[in-house]
């Protein structure tokens, strides 16, 4: 068996666990699908009560869709090594002749079932209940940017996972602390440019989510409220995707090496 074949099998097996677990514990449908949809609906009602332009309702729906992927990256991918260690599986994965990126990718692919379901429900809520309309001509471009955003986002997730590997519970606490600020500076529920140029620029430089969401909104809803021109944001996303994937590979190796030197890979948390 070649290394590539082994890694592909590992990705499939790790993804399969997620899918089987989701089918056997259906409570996630309530917690991960219906409750986030209610939160999105809440923002739409606020905008309607304030008499905001209809486009803002579409911003909220697209923000809600992207939130699902961010959650999958943060808790499904970045925190995966932490959870595996907590369950006693980390040694098994670390000792296996496979890339760490395969384990993370498998988890992310498996998590797509729940993520796609959550996104679909929020999108359906927007289209069917709130009758939000998108520019049909821009959907293909939006889909392309969406895929590019996901690549960058999951690259970032892999980078973050190396921090979890090294700092364990400490990293988990920081991720929890950072969750709401990330929602804010990514412009999940309002146009990114409303943050003001310095904050929006800082957010766009670090968070592929902010750039991707802004570009998707411009292509699916029409230009007018974007932070930067779509082609600039797309180029920046491509650069971030390449950078994060490259850095993820390096940081995973570096962090594993450091963890093996310090002994934190094999010792119990705290």
């Amino acid at each position: 068996m070649t290394a590539l074949g082994r890694n592909l099998r590992a990705i499939r097996a790790r993804a399969w666990i997620r899918v089987v677990a989701a089918n056997r514990e259906l409570s996630w449908l309530l917690f991960d699908t219906l409750l986030p949809a209610l939160a999105t609906a809440g923002y739409i009602f606020v905008y309607r009560a304030l008499g905001a332009p209809a486009a803002y309702e579409a911003y909220v729906v697209l923000g809600g869709v992207m939130t699902a992927f961010w959650m999958n990256v943060l808790w499904g991918m970045a925190a995966q090594f932490f959870w595996e260690k907590d369950m006693g599986n980390l040694d098994i994965y670390m000792m296996a002749p496979i890339s760490r990126m395969s384990i993370l990718l498998g988890m992310a692919v498996g998590g797509m079932l729940g993520t796609a379901m959550r996104s679909t429900v929020i999108l359906a809520l927007g289209l069917v209940v709130f009758r939000i309309r998108f520019e049909v001509s821009g959907l293909a471009a939006a889909a392309g940017i969406f895929l590019l955003s996901l690549t960058a986002l999951y690259g970032l997730g892999m980078m973050l996972s190396s921090l979890f590997l090294l700092f364990g519970r400490g990293a988990q606490r920081w991720a929890t602390v950072a969750q709401e600020p990330v929602y804010l500076v990514s412009g999940f529920y309002f146009p990114l440019r409303d943050l003001g140029f310095p904050l929006a620029a800082a957010s766009a430089s670090l968070l592929p989510l902010a750039l991707g969401l802004d570009a998707i909104r411009q292509t699916a809803l029409g230009p007018g409220t974007g932070f930067l021109p779509v082609h600039v944001e797309t180029a920046a996303l491509a650069a971030l995707a390449a950078l994060f994937l490259l850095c993820a590979r390096r940081t995973l190796q570096a962090m594993e090496s450091r963890a093996k030197r310090e002994g934190s890979l094999t010792l119990k948390w705290e």
Binding site: M1, V20, M87, D91, P97, G263, T266
Partner: protein, 334 residues
């Protein structure tokens, strides 16, 4: 390949950072360990908790770097060639809570087989054969979170066996198992080794009966150092110069612990029966001529000899003679 596992002057130090007025400190878990395990050997590492057994096994499994020294598995350096080492090894720990609770035994084993590139057909055929061989066939569809400790450990052993590693590491494989299940587990280990004479197995344990029962050779490890290494029979034979006795004493009235300090006596077991007011002491002397002086010392503490017997030397006695202390667990898991 002359050696399946080879270490030379292996040292591993853990650094504890400074904290709250305390300076940084170092702990040497392994101190100049030199070992040579031959292909096809079932080799035991025997030592008490904290002796360095698990640290050594983690280094051999590429989960921890050595601080210094040479470490090779299947002729490959575990630091430089770690990917190639990983293709050839597997490891199972005792009391391992690994796995995903919602998966069944069969599903769980399939998942782990995929990390080693087994095709699904080959993996399932091997898993089904082993599940039947180790008495888990009727539980193959049981979820992991419903397994008893013994069943879970059988599953863990299959996880290690099924990838057919050249070198398998078992870290305290019968830890926490009752005597019956532990005996079964030892049987599985023997069967797996007998299937292919080129397989090598390194087992760590602090159960003396397990080491004596299973291992071709044993290394006694204590305070991070290998104190002795040979076949159990040779270790015992080399110790025959000493004499092992067991004495029952009455009337010590709380002075039982003082027996440990008796000059010339190495105590390997001390048990007090409060109801009967007696103390049983197992001890080693350099030779029989030292017995009268030892008995006189016991009596000087107020003890009255109820019974005295001489015993065959066991690995426990060897361990006590070498390490200066008892493992204190012999028989728990026999």
């Amino acid at each position: 390949m002359d050696s399946a596992i080879r270490t030379a002057d292996l040292t591993r130090t853990f650094r504890k950072p400074a904290g709250r007025g305390l300076p940084p400190s170092e702990f040497r878990a392994l101190d100049g360990v030199t070992l040579d395990v031959r292909p096809g050997e079932l080799f035991g590492l025997l030592g008490p908790n904290g002796a360095g057994k698990t640290t050594l096994i983690k280094i051999l499994c590429t989960l921890l770097y050595p601080t210094s020294g040479l470490v090779e598995v299947c002729g490959l350096d575990v630091v430089r060639d770690c990917e190639r080492v990983r293709e050839r090894i597997n490891m199972v720990s005792g009391g391992e809570p690994s796995g995903y609770g919602l998966l069944t035994i069969r599903e769980q084993l399939w998942v782990f087989s995929q990390l080693y590139g087994l095709t699904t057909a080959a993996a399932l055929s091997r898993i089904d054969r082993m599940i039947a061989q180790y008495g888990l066939a009727k539980d193959a569809g049981t979820r992991i979170n419903r397994l008893s400790t013994g069943m879970r450990q059988k599953m863990n052993l299959i996880r290690g066996f099924m990838t057919n590693p050249s070198v398998l590491f078992l870290d305290e494989p019968t830890l926490g198992l009752d005597a019956h299940i532990a005996r079964h587990a030892r049987g599985f280990i023997r069967e797996w080794m007998a299937e292919d004479r080129t397989r090598t197995l390194l087992l760590t344990t602090h159960y003396l009966a397990e080491a004596q029962d299973l291992c071709d050779r044993v290394a006694i490890i204590h305070d991070g150092q290998v104190k002795a290494c040979d076949t159990p029979a040779n270790l015992i034979a080399a110790h025959r110069g000493g004499a092992v006795y067991e004495v029952s004493l009455a009337g010590l009235n709380g002075a039982a612990e003082s027996l440990r300090a008796t000059p010339g006596v190495t105590v390997s077991g001390l048990a007090t029966d409060a109801a009967r007011g007696s103390t049983t002491l197992r001890f080693t002397l350099p030779d029989d001529s030292a017995l009268p002086a030892a008995l006189q010392s016991f009596c000087s503490l107020g003890g009255k000899v109820l019974n005295l017997s001489k015993h065959q030397v066991t690995l426990e006695d060897v361990f006590v003679a070498i390490a200066g202390r008892s493992l204190g667990t012999d028989g728990e898991n026999a």
